[in-house]
Symmetry: C2
Subunit: 419 residues, 2 copies
């Protein structure tokens, strides 16, 4: 199989992988732990919001009819019958000729149908038994009606949504001190290759430090997963197969890096030929990372990324990120490219689409995608600057600066200006 | 002071606050804990990268001069003297007429100056003592030179940078198992107002649940801070002052919500008049959130946000987010607006700039900022959809659809299509 692999497009390979993944179970968490999690169910408003008619400002609740003739130089004087703070329940109705001193968020007294702010009354800094109203009000003016923003029973957040700070505000308001969320996916991580030494080990000749596992663990954590770290895989096929068969049982998805190409010791590539293993894909029409491999072992999906850091990163963004969204129950997972103008020409010929790391800039409201030219598969110094993958279609001509290209965004753009 | 406040612009108020904040101390963390933290120092490459001349692919290391006459139909045959896996040190130099079978990432043998990939040799799947080279190579072709990406001593990440997965890869590669990062800021949180009940309490008439504290705690965690939750502040001035004087000692920044306006029980507003308290600002030319207040208590900065959830959110984004960046040691903190086309007309007259929550969309490479029209200060149902603040300048005419507006982005755009 090693030199006669069947080629698939990125989209075909991704669908092969996603078809093997299922939404995970749900679990209950405290509201304070819900940030970043995925909602398992729609969230319903448990009451109207606001829950009662209330004042949106500090002032006086009045009958609008009493203020018809009020003006700056001709105030209408009303008798103040009560002061109501937010959280208090008014006791005295507002009769004609009367007003209630009322604070922001306080419940409206019966009989009042409008609120005038302190600043539009006489001597706003002085407490008095009479207030001079300096402006006419319309009925309903400065009044927040019960349920005007959200009616009880409304769906205020949907299953599959990621909980952010605004979601937390909604959940808190409606009394959800516990939240049903999708369980965090357990993602196994392993590397292959005897050239790898641990981060805290000294470099020996011919060796490099294992940077992929640390990088992938960070990416998985960022995506809401739990990285489960396994030892470096042995090069020997039978032993590797036995280890991996054990590992997949412990996780929802196993991600490896290295060993996917045509080298003599590329153990993942050998694994694809084993009878107990189902091959999903091992040759993708893309640069970098064309030997990125998908397998099923004991029914569990294995995503085998290139060992080259640059290709490993791109493979993660194209396959692992959507896979984690799929496990989290997101509907219709796809790469969803947006359009941007290419910031610099990219003319390197390539028989397959290139997925270039880059940055998203903007100039006068126009999106500009600036490729990173430090794009050799083995390089890693500029992975930290990547905000998107810029898709350069197959063919010898590439794309000129200013042409629209597809861009798959994976990080908050920095909108940096430098090109 | 309550009804005679001095107005400042958002930028003036922000600078008043930032001038009181200092970069926090550093601490050492394990690499696995460094994600999301801010680097305290520049990070230096501890070796060349690659650390040795190596092969970027699986194939044969050769002398290019030996391949000058090679062609698909006229292979040049070389004697295979050794196989070198990644991680091994070659023992045998490549003499004229010889080749070394070499794997991706493996150290180049002495004497070789180019690598041909398996696929460009005869019978690539077969191991043999002789290899047929089917293409002429240039000296240096398919060879990654020691230090070609990064020279030892290069600064590979800068003090003040946020550590992302790519930074982790660089740190791992250069052996940084411990990283110096800026200490996480401790941010105190408190609410004011007797109308507030806890999330797990039942609603009584006139009461609402405290959603701001939970929301702000999530925002602070997201920004890399540690939220420190204090009880709801009493309305009584002397007691409130005493409590807050204690609270500020425990934190780097204290954030409150509510009590900043002109209401009778607005205790933060009263605090601004106390002799031990230094007022930085308490009236800002902005909607919503104009009474957003900055104070110094015992030399510690206090940011007092509006109690209205919408105004609280906007105040956090305009003032607290930059304040946290400042504590983290980010240089030249500012709001850094970008430009986008306004997606829908916004014509509500306003004497001050409006900061509208909204979404960032794109169409054919053009950025579109779509305002959220659920923008009453007291509303909270759509805070979760906010990706940016759209700045509508002061004045009665607003902005028309398609006009360029300033946009302050605070979340990863979803690039949703719906308008």
């Amino acid at each position: 199989m090693r030199f006669s692999r069947q080629m698939k497009t990125v989209e075909e390979a991704l669908q092969e992988l996603l078809a093997r993944l299922q939404k995970l179970d749900e679990e209950q968490v405290e509201l304070g732990e819900a940030y970043g999690r995925i909602l398992a169910h729609d969230v319903i408003a448990t009451c109207d919001m606001p829950p009662f008619d209330r004042s949106p400002l500090d002032g006086f609740a009045v009958k609008a009819a009493d203020t018809v003739h009020a003006a700056v130089d001709q105030p209408v004087y009303l008798r103040v019958v009560e002061t109501v703070a937010a959280g208090q329940v008014p006791r005295i109705p507002v009769d004609p000729g009367c007003a209630t001193r009322i604070m922001t968020g306080a419940m409206m007294p019966a009989g009042a149908d409008a609120v005038i702010m302190f600043e539009q009354t006489e001597n706003p800094g002085v407490h008095s038994e009479v207030v001079g109203i300096k402006r006419a009000l319309r009925p309903g003016e400065n009044l927040s009606r019960r349920g005007e923003e959200i009616a009880q029973g409304t769906v205020v957040a949907h299953a599959g949504e990621r909980v952010n700070a605004g979601t937390i505000a909604v959940l808190a308001t409606f009394g959800y001190s516990q939240v049903s969320v999708i369980r965090k996916p357990r993602v196994g991580l392993l590397s292959t290759g005897i050239e790898l030494v641990a981060v805290d080990e000294p470099l020996a000749p011919g060796k490099i430090r294992n940077s992929n596992t640390a990088m992938l663990a960070a990416l998985i954590t960022e995506a809401g997963g739990i990285p489960v770290l396994f030892p470096v895989l042995p090069d020997e096929l039978a032993e590797a197969k036995q280890k991996m068969t054990g590992y997949v049982r412990e996780v929802d998805l196993l991600i490896s890096s290295g060993g996917v190409s045509v080298g003599d010791y590329d153990v993942i590539a050998s694994l694809a030929d084993e009878p107990e293993v189902t091959l999903l894909f091992n040759r993708i029409a893309m640069r970098p990372g064309s030997p990125t491999t998908g397998l099923l072992m004991s029914g569990k999906p294995v995503l085998a990324l290139s060992g080259n850091p640059g290709a490993c990163f791109v493979g993660y963004e194209l396959f692992a990120r959507p896979a984690l969204q799929c496990l989290a129950g997101k509907k219709q997972v796809s790469l969803e490219p947006i359009k941007a103008q290419l910031g610099s020409p990219y003319e390197k010929p390539c028989p397959h689409p290139r997925y270039l790391r880059g940055r998203l800039l903007q100039k006068d409201g126009v999106l500009i995608a600036q490729p990173d030219f430090n794009d050799k598969a083995g390089n890693l110094g500029t992975l930290k600057n990547s905000e998107c993958l810029i898709v350069i279609p197959a063919g010898g001509r590439g794309k000129q600066a200013g042409e629209l290209v597809d861009v798959i965004v994976h990080a908050q753009p920095s909108w940096r200006e430098e090109v």
